[in-house]
Amino acid sequence: LDLRETKEELAFRRDFRQWLEETLPGVRSAQEPPLASTEEQIYAERRRFDRALHRGGWSGITWKREYGGRGGSLTEQMIFAEECARAAAPEVFNRGGLGVMGPTIADCGTEEQRRRFLPAILASDEIWCQGFSEPDAGSDLAGLKTWAEAVDGGWSVRGQKTWTTLGHFADFCMLLARTSREAKKHHGLTMFIVPMQQPGVVVRPIRQIAGDQEFCEVFFDGAFVPTENLIGQVGDGWSVAMVVLGHERSTHFIGRQVRLGQEVTALVELVRLKAGEVPSELKDRLVDVCVRSEALRWTVWSHIARFEAGGRPGPVDSATKVFWSDVWQDLANLAIDIEAAVGLPVDIPRHGRPDWNLTYLSSRAATIYAGTSEIQKNIIAERALGLPRG
């Protein structure tokens, strides 16, 4: 093990930190820091941040140079996330496009698709969503029913997707649909790039338990997809979906781990302020959360080392997904217990502090999205431990 940061990594950190310091004031909403920004203000700020990153040449850290990225390492991606957290930068808006869908097009798309779509993702000129889950196909994703039928010059899509993050802002949807009724479940699927701005697509935001509307239902009623928007071959959709999930379960988690670390720090600071009032049993729980958050951090570094050595996403990434979601939920549970024990939130200004009730509510989704904990444990049991399918 070599835990020292290289000269290049140190330089990357220094340069990006300096850029953030110079750029962030111009990105933040004029109203900041208020008690509550509206959802629209937050989205607008996130969009401004994406554009600034692109102008500054910081978009697509790990994307290849030939596609307009920086050609950087995952270590740099981690440093990027750490510095964003340190500076309390907005979350990247086109997260799915930059972290998951763009890299999938780079891996599985045609050269024309790469040229057509990657630059606009990188610039966040075009926002992407992911059309996988359906009302009747969640964990059993391959049981999905959305149907694409060959028509003149392309395909016509009918069906419904749900839990579609940022569907209401998206220009394109990476959509998994059934293209054969005869082929076996996993073999009858194909991956499409669906333009969202057309009459055959209707998007309805879903209000989530924390009150925000990040998810949507998307209805496809004869939506047209030109032939050149197919990713991979007809019937190859499942293997492309695995590439998507691979990106979702690996590199994507760098940012999540760093944000969790930030929230842990915020809770530690709160307890420090109220040290005399927080019962020792809650402090013990905080120690446990800190310890597990630290274990997560080093595990993410171990994943980075594995990927940089050419490793593929695997069941150990499922382990990190489950572990991260459990630690996050434990942190959020603890935070509201601590607030209840000391009579907060009343006498400490809210500014700069997470709203723990919202964090608690949001964290409940973490064990469900991107593959439920139950499904992840099946994956681990079967693929890491070699136990038979039930």
């Binding site: 013990d284 274990a295 099946n378 049991a381 070699g386 038979p388 039930g390």
Partner: protein, 343 residues
């Protein structure tokens, strides 16, 4: 930053593991000639890994000693290997040279370090005191001592037989480790050296990390053995490992084990203040995971797991002792809390 074992690190780990699994494989009826085994390990350099070359060692990073601890935990290596390694670390920290260390490095003389402090009086140098719980079967003890005339702590070495030494065997829940209590009444010391004060904290960190590494090795083994068992055991005409309730319990263990492993490796790999921060964290989590690994293994071995003939109890009992090394988990939890300034 490169957070993965390099080729030489993997080779060291594999060599130690394969030696131990050949020479002293864990089993309920294992009979080990400790003296012979420790001589062989000394001969192979297992105790010399992180000892500086000037002191007769191999001069490798402390990380390598951690790899030894992982392998030792996996095979439940019996005897005072951890206390022996710490004795060497302490003697090196106090400036002992190659000549003095060579019998311990070679495994010819088993030594044991204890954090318990005894009273030292001078002219001639004699100690008084009591060690409530230390390993049996060693030839020399390395102890911390204080006296009215010395400014800081003193590291002393003392034999285990002779006038004024009374050793009483203790009941030990851990079948791989025999303990004694020792009373010293005006006992002459073999050597004494001033010990830089900060080294006591460093020794405590190293002890915690080595114990944590052993817990990881043992948990790895429990997971592997339990997976093999649930694949071979059939009920309702299918392997019990095909039932989701069983699979998820093992998946939970795998998840926690993969994450605590990286925390322990990080604690092992740091040489600076970061080790002081990570060591108690690694120990707290390793203690939890090891115990739950042993409990999960016991549960999934069913009625067999509760019997003497199944080796799971050896690990469960080892986990109960290891969590008190060098001090209790609750002390390590306290250290983490103190460092976070939340207490």
């Amino acid at each position: 930053m490169q957070f993965s074992l390099d080729a030489s690190e993997r080779e060291v780990q594999e060599n130690i593991s394969s030696f131990l699994s050949r020479r002293a494989p864990v089993s309920v009826d294992r009979v080990v000639d400790l003296k012979g085994l420790y001589c062989e390990m000394g001969h192979l350099g297992f105790f010399s890994l992180s000892v500086p070359e000037a002191a007769g060692g191999l001069g490798l990073p402390f990380f390598m000693a951690g790899l030894f601890a992982l392998a030792a935990g996996r095979e439940l290596l019996p005897g005072p290997w951890l206390e022996h390694l710490l004795a060497l670390e302490a003697m090196v920290a106090a400036g002992a040279g190659a000549t003095e260390l060579s019998p311990a490095l070679a495994g010819r003389r088993l030594e044991a370090f204890a954090f318990t402090e005894v009273r030292l009086s001078h002219h001639p140098a004699k100690i008084e005191g009591r060690l409530p719980r230390v390993p049996a079967g060693v030839q020399r003890r390395v102890l911390l001592a204080s006296s009215d005339s010395s400014v800081g702590p003193v590291l002393i070495a003392v034999g285990t037989t002779g006038q004024g030494i009374a050793e009483q065997p203790l009941e030990s829940v851990d079948l791989t480790w025999d303990g004694v209590s020792v009373d010293y009444e005006s006992v002459a010391v073999e050597s004494q050296r001033p010990l830089p004060k900060h080294t006591i904290g460093e020794l405590a960190n190293k002890a915690a990390i080595l114990a944590a590494a052993a817990a990881i090795g043992a948990s790895d083994r429990l997971l592997e053995d339990t997976v093999a068992y649930v694949l071979s055991r059939h009920q309702f005409d299918r392997p019990i490992g095909s039932f989701q309730a069983v699979k998820h319990r093992l998946a939970d263990l795998y998840i926690n084990l993969e994450h605590v492993r990286n925390l322990v490796l990080a604690a092992l790999a740091h040489e600076d203040g970061e080790r002081t921060r990570l060591a108690p964290m690694a120990k707290v989590m390793a203690d939890q995971v090891y115990r739950s690994a042993a409990e999960t293994a016991l549960q999934l071995h069913g009625g067999l797991g509760f019997t003497w003939e199944c080796p799971v109890h050896l690990y469960l009992k080892n986990s109960l002792r290891l969590r008190t090394v060098p001090v209790s988990s609750s002390h390590h939890r306290h250290l983490v809390g103190a460092r976070l300034a939340i207490l």
